[in-house]
């Protein structure tokens, strides 16, 4: 087409194309640099972790230094236990608070809750660890899985609160009114229509929140504490992957440091799996919500 263009315009066009190519490659480089740490970390983990990874790694308890083999079975189980406790605390509170924020946007309490949730999510996680230590560990006189779970749960609350609020606010008001007009009570409208419509988004956010706290180490240091033994008791110290990684990586023994890489790999795979699951749910939510909005339930 540009063959027919006058010479002057043709030069302009070429210049534009050149500029476009330069900018595109710059943006491309930025994306590549952005991805680089993730790629490097993953590669490093794969190389370092693969050496110790085997069936035994998932089924065996940690071995004493100098003894070959050993695994992180108790760490994996402990992390899952901690996540279950955290979700049991963080999900209901976060969901309830988020729903309140979205449905009672402008009350003074809502403003306060919103502000505090933001502060809480910005709080260093080790501070939450100390808080739970004061709250549970000191009075009960022992480190425990419960304390660790509570610490992670407190970390989850603001994440789930703000995500729920955002998702519920995406629900078109016309949908709320349709339910009210049909004779739904306010509570029923919120729970069965609004929350249900926002559910896929909330599930996504919850999975991401769980993935986020799964890797937390600091709040577990003086709550769950960690143990080299098998324990799933709520009132006793429990092992957790991040704690084991921390202990192994800072140890002077070569075989333990190798195990740290393996543990890190397992943890990353767990987080990847949760994120991937979250993405899948999100895609379905987008489809649904966009079709509702396109159907015109806006405003």
């Amino acid at each position: 087409m540009d063959r027919q263009l006058p010479v002057g315009e043709r030069a302009t066009l070429l210049a534009r194309r050149r500029r476009s190519a330069i900018m595109t490659s710059l943006v491309w480089c930025a994306s590549a640099v952005c991805l680089l740490p993730l790629v490097l970390i993953t590669a490093h983990l794969l190389i370092g972790g693969a050496r110790v990874l085997g069936p035994r790694f998932f089924t065996a308890l940690p071995a004493p230094p100098g003894v070959a083999g050993g695994g992180v079975a108790n760490g994996i189980a402990g992390t899952l236990l901690l996540l279950v406790i955290a979700a049991a605390i963080g999900l209901p509170i976060g969901l309830g608070a988020g729903l309140y924020l979205a449905e009672r946007t402008r009350t003074r309490l809502a403003e306060a809750v919103r502000f505090l949730a933001d502060v809480l999510s910005g709080l260093p996680s080790i501070v939450i660890g100390i808080f739970v230590w004061e709250l549970i560990v000191r009075p009960s006189g022992q480190f425990s899985a419960l304390a660790g779970g509570v610490a992670l749960g407190v970390l989850m609350i603001p994440l789930i609160t703000r995500a729920t609020e955002a998702m519920v606010q995406l629900v078109p008001n016309a949908l709320r009114e349709a339910a009210l007009a049909l004779g739904y009570s306010r509570a029923r409208t919120s729970l069965t229509i609004v929350l249900r419509t926002a559910l896929p988004g909330i599930v996504t956010a919850s999975l991401l929140a769980i993935a986020r706290v799964a890797g937390e180490t600091a709040p577990l240091l003086f709550t769950a504490f960690g143990t080299p033994y098998w324990s799933l008791r709520l009132d006793a110290p429990v092992a957790a992957l991040p704690l084991q990684i921390f202990n192994y990586a800072t140890s002077p023994y070569d075989d333990w440091r190798a195990q740290a890489w393996g543990g890190a790999l397992v943890l990353i795979v767990l987080v990847f799996a949760l994120s991937w699951l979250a993405r899948r749910v999100t895609d379905r939510r987008r489809e649904r919500l966009s079709s509702v909005v396109a159907g015109g339930a806006g405003e």
Binding site: E177, A178, A179, L180, L182, G183, Y184, G295
Partner: protein, 292 residues
């Protein structure tokens, strides 16, 4: 199948009469009590109704009576308070923050705003369809239709619900299109189908009063025609209040038409009268297209 049993002409014995402020005239009642003994279509009366959003007055001192079993259309330019007036009937107006209502809305002899009246009870007796389709997502087409039935105290077995789904969807002309995919998400339907689904959802509990807020504003001509035909068949059985931008639609479907301007009721009269010999010059200006 009570709505098929009686020819439309039989349930429209005489022309209704409606007057605007200051005093609503006593209207000729259509005696439309169905043979099966269910409640008759109620009359609807606005009594010096004023509705506000904070400082803004949306509806100003409106008195209007809608005859039972008849279709009343409200016309007027955008922002004249038509929808607000409609939303005062089922008390949706008060669900908005800072919204206030003064005056009364009577359903037969019951004041909707009386202190001992529960808004939820009122809403269960009134069907409502909004301007844009609002099917409940995360709920199948079938569940959408019976959503209003599931909340009542009545317990219905699966067979009765299925029968209701088919009956109601046939009524809105959607059955043939969705019969094979009742368990699908309504999001898969077209806009027109979604709106007819919402109409079905509003009709399933068999309300005796139906509020339609520009129900065909986002519909294609064929879907619009179907909705209008449905409204026509509801005559005698259901009192219908329909807000519309479309003057032709008001002329086609309604028995009486009310014209609103700036929150006030300018004129209400038999539809034919209002469109041929309007009493107020503003009405004439509007219907002849001089503004709005």
């Amino acid at each position: 199948m009570w709505w098929l049993g009686v020819p439309v002409s039989d349930v429209m014995p005489h022309e209704p009469a409606v007057t605007a402020r200051p005093t609503p005239a006593v209207l000729a009642r259509v005696d439309a009590t169905p043979e099966d003994g269910r409640s008759a279509a109620p009359s609807l009366r606005f009594d010096r109704l004023t509705a506000t959003y904070g400082e803004r007055v949306a509806v100003r001192d409106v008195s209007l009576e809608c005859a039972p079993g008849r279709v009343t259309a409200i016309i007027g330019p955008s922002g004249c308070g038509k929808s607000s007036l409609l939303r005062c009937v089922n008390r949706l107006h008060e669900s908005v923050a800072d919204a206030r209502v003064a005056g009364a809305v009577h359903l037969d002899d019951q004041d909707v705003y009386a202190p001992d009246v529960d808004a939820v009870d009122i809403r269960r007796r009134i069907g409502f369809v909004s301007q844009r389709p609002t099917p409940f997502p995360m709920m199948s087409i079938r569940d959408n239709v019976v959503a209003g039935l599931r909340i009542g105290s009545r317990r219905l077995d699966a067979r009765a619900l299925d029968a209701c789904v088919e009956r109601t969807l046939r009524r809105v002309g959607l059955w043939e299109e969705v019969a094979r995919r009742l368990d699908d998400d309504p999001a898969a339907l077209s806009g027109g189908q979604q709106q007819r689904l919402c109409l079905a959802r509003a009709l399933a509990p068999e309300p005796r009063l139906l509020l339609l807020d520009e129900p065909t504003a986002s519909l294609d001509p064929l879907s619009t025609q179907r909705v209008e035909e449905l409204v026509y068949t509801l005559r005698g059985e259901v009192t219908v209040l329909i807000v519309t931008h479309n003057l032709q639609q008001a002329a086609r479907v309604s028995d009486t038409t009310a014209f609103m301007l700036d929150g006030q009721l300018v004129e209400a009269a038999r539809t034919r009268t209002l469109f041929t010999t309007p009493a107020d010059p503003r009405t004439e200006a509007y219907i002849t297209g001089r503004f709005g």
